[in-house]
Amino acid sequence: MNPLHLLFESSYGPLAGGVMIGLAAALLWLVHGRIAGISGIAGGLFDAPRGDKRWRLSFVLGLVGGGVLFSRLLPEAFGAPSASVGVVVLGGALVGFGTTLANGCTSGHGVCGVARVSKRSLVATAAFMAAGMLAVYAARTLTGGPS
């Protein structure tokens, strides 16, 4: 059996994946001096100065390229949302608006900011975790079944 499948099935998958995410973020910071905040990197494609766009595009291409590779190597890791199209689009818009307003998401605040014990990031992370938990609870209560 492919060792990647074994790792994914084992209880070490999340920790190993987390370490890989940490290494990628460390690479961006130590080599390039950039914070690995996905919402900021991707959002900057819209309004960053011209010379500041190329690395963002390269990184996002890497994300998608990694997705192409791993959706073949480890297809069981990829699921699709179970929500209806309307909810999916609403969710995407809320994530886009909220992370732009907050200047960061799970990666920029949740990983990079929390790791350097930034007060802003600790507050942001507590807020989006709490709101996410409440949204799941509300969705399950309203629909009357497991979400």
Partner: protein
């Protein structure tokens, strides 16, 4: 070229980590957030692994004058806990909890070509652009400050455009190296490779 490839590699490694950790499966993410139901706490270990590694890297970087392949670090210039930070994070959390994707896994999962992922990511990316445009208009002319200080932060600073760069860098230098640099010295350095 090698520089761009290293960004591609960092992106791909980040994507691999998201896949191996299970973050690219919305059902699993929703189970992690479902503390009142069938809670699956295993994804907390993703944070533990990522934060553990990054904390070491972040601490090590305080000994460096500059990154290995760039003229300076681009830290955030934001210091204060603002309503905007809290409201934005709450709104983000609701969207995350409705569908199960945060920005990284959404972008990575577009590779599967599943239509629902494409809808989510398209809505998210369009909203990035629209929100940045609106915020830029609200902040009225502070764009240069935002660009120069930190790419992660859209223009929000109230201080004159040129000041935050020198001050921010000087403050950082002061905390890390204490005596070697003065504020004026820091601001005289070339701002970056941009």
């Amino acid at each position: 070229m090698i520089r761009q490839l290293s960004f591609v590699f960092a992106g791909a490694l980040f994507a691999a980590g998201l896949a191996v950790s299970g973050m690219t499966d919305p059902a699993r993410v929703l189970a992690f957030l479902d503390v009142g139901g069938r809670w699956d706490p295993s994804l907390a270990l993703v944070m533990v692994g990522a934060i553990g590694v990054y904390a070491v890297a972040s601490a090590f970087s305080k000994r460096l004058r500059r990154p290995f392949a760039a003229s300076r670090f681009h830290p955030t210039n934001q210091r204060h806990i603002t309503p905007r930070l809290v409201v934005g994070s709450l709104v983000f959390g609701v969207g995350w909890g409705l569908v199960g994707y945060c920005p990284g896994p959404a972008i990575v999962s577009t590779a599967t070509g599943a239509s629902s992922v494409l809808y989510f990511t398209l809505a998210m990316v369009v909203t990035f652009g629209v929100t940045r445009k609106l915020l830029g208009r609200l902040d009225d002319g502070a764009d240069d400050a935002g660009e120069a200080v930190d790419a992660l932060e859209p223009a929000v600073t109230m201080v004159p455009a040129a000041a935050p760069v020198g001050l921010g860098t000087a403050a950082q230098a002061a905390t890390s190296t204490s005596t070697t640099r003065t504020p004026s010295g820091a601001s005289r350095r070339p701002s970056s490779g941009q």
